[in-house]
Amino acid sequence: MTVTTQHDPPPPTAEPPDPGDLGAMFDAYARDLLRYATRRVGEQLAEDVVAQTFLIAYEQRHRFDSARGGLLPWLYGICGNLLRREHRTEKRALRATAAAALAVTADEDAPDARSAERVDAQRTVARVATALARLPRRQREVLLLFAVAELEYAEIASALGIPLGSVRSALHRARTKIKSALSGGSR
């Protein structure tokens, strides 16, 4: 936590930055995009992807149309396109998360309630990570944009360039599979 070039995000009422102002755009949204990308592909790759996201956004700023959606969903769209190239890394990371969680549970004898809770939590992590890795790419993108990036349906549609109905159905299917995994199912 020693180094930063960014100022804190503007309050929610602040005007969105101009896409021609690279510094302001970065200040406002870098941390959101890094949080999202780091979850998907880890810190090192996320930095690379997010830097490239802002560069592309800046170079293609004339293509941004505020009437079709906000600046942040547009940035998530660019970021998502770049992350798509890294889908193998993402899946590997999710499988590794699941394996690590299972390894912890294997080491636990669960002699008391607290240990049992910890084992349960690790099993949940393993199930959810496995379910996420198995999701079709589009469903995983929609789910993570909703859960992690906290975008609305319309914003996800704008980010991915897909109809609103497709967002709803992809999210429904993804959540159904995660719920099933949580309940111990294997869908």
Partner: protein
Amino acid sequence: MTHPDPDLRAVLDLPAAEPTDASVSRTWHLLNQRHTAARSRTPRRLSRMLVPVGAAALVAAVALSAVLLNGPGGGNGQVGAPRIAEVLASHQPLPAERGTNPKLSRTTPEAIAALDELAHTAESAATVTLAPRQLVHVKADGWAAGRSGEDPTARISYQGRELWIDPQGMIALRVLADGRDLAEGPKADPQPGRAERDDLLQNGANLRRATPEWLAQLPAGDPAALLARLRDDVDDNEKWTADYLVWDAVAQLYFNADLLLSPQLRAGLLRSFRGMDGLTSGEVVVDGWRLIAIRQTEGSSSTEILFDPLTASAVGRRDIYADSEVTLVPPDGGPRFDPVVGYHVTWTQNLVNSVDER
């Protein structure tokens, strides 16, 4: 994160760390490098570039002066900005000889001598005793570059930070940024530090998630073995060498918990660094406070850790970008830095019993 639904909550609960300030900074400088490179490929814009800056590899005495600020809340209008009147920096050239890793230069004899001297001092340094549940309070005075649009200049601004670090995993429980609590507001995490604790639970203590117990079991008396342990704890990747990653992680460890290091470990770490590649030495003097700067360089990026020669404690960090073509503009009344210094911070630490104590 505000989703109440168990399935969404479960997705959010998967281990994942929040982006650190260091990660944001690296991303910003990566973006700047690419942006500059893209602009240099556009002949029409070449005339708009400012004077290139390539002085990092030269011995340079840089006299930096500024008008005294008016103290907290005054002067340049930045809350809590410290009074810095003068910064003097000098650093030896980067040698041409390659190190054990040919991607990096050879560590210089001067850097090795400086590390030896610091290690000798460290052996007689004072120790602190950490009581159960105590936290490390870190107060950091940072100055960082920020840039808008195609502006060929980057404005330096003050960034004051206060952190309350749980030494069990070096987890920030509370962060004040320029006086504002980052744990407040609509995106506040209701369980701060939970992801980091999960990470600690899953992966155990390591260089990036140290604990006092982990620090105590390091082979402090065997510099080669200690460096090997540190290198084992960073992930190799195509982008950076292990020594760059070790140096970055060690800088973070010092920032979080320098005062928890025993004299033996403090000395052992300094001796272990002698086996790294890419180190050079220099001095930074802040208002007469002389500090030893040990710099690790990879490509055009360098990170300095600043040591107080009287205690061998790490008290600061500077990030340096040798190929930057951006001109840094000091704030009104603020310090003027060497043109290649993108970030400069010094810190102080003390032990506290809660996140409400200083």
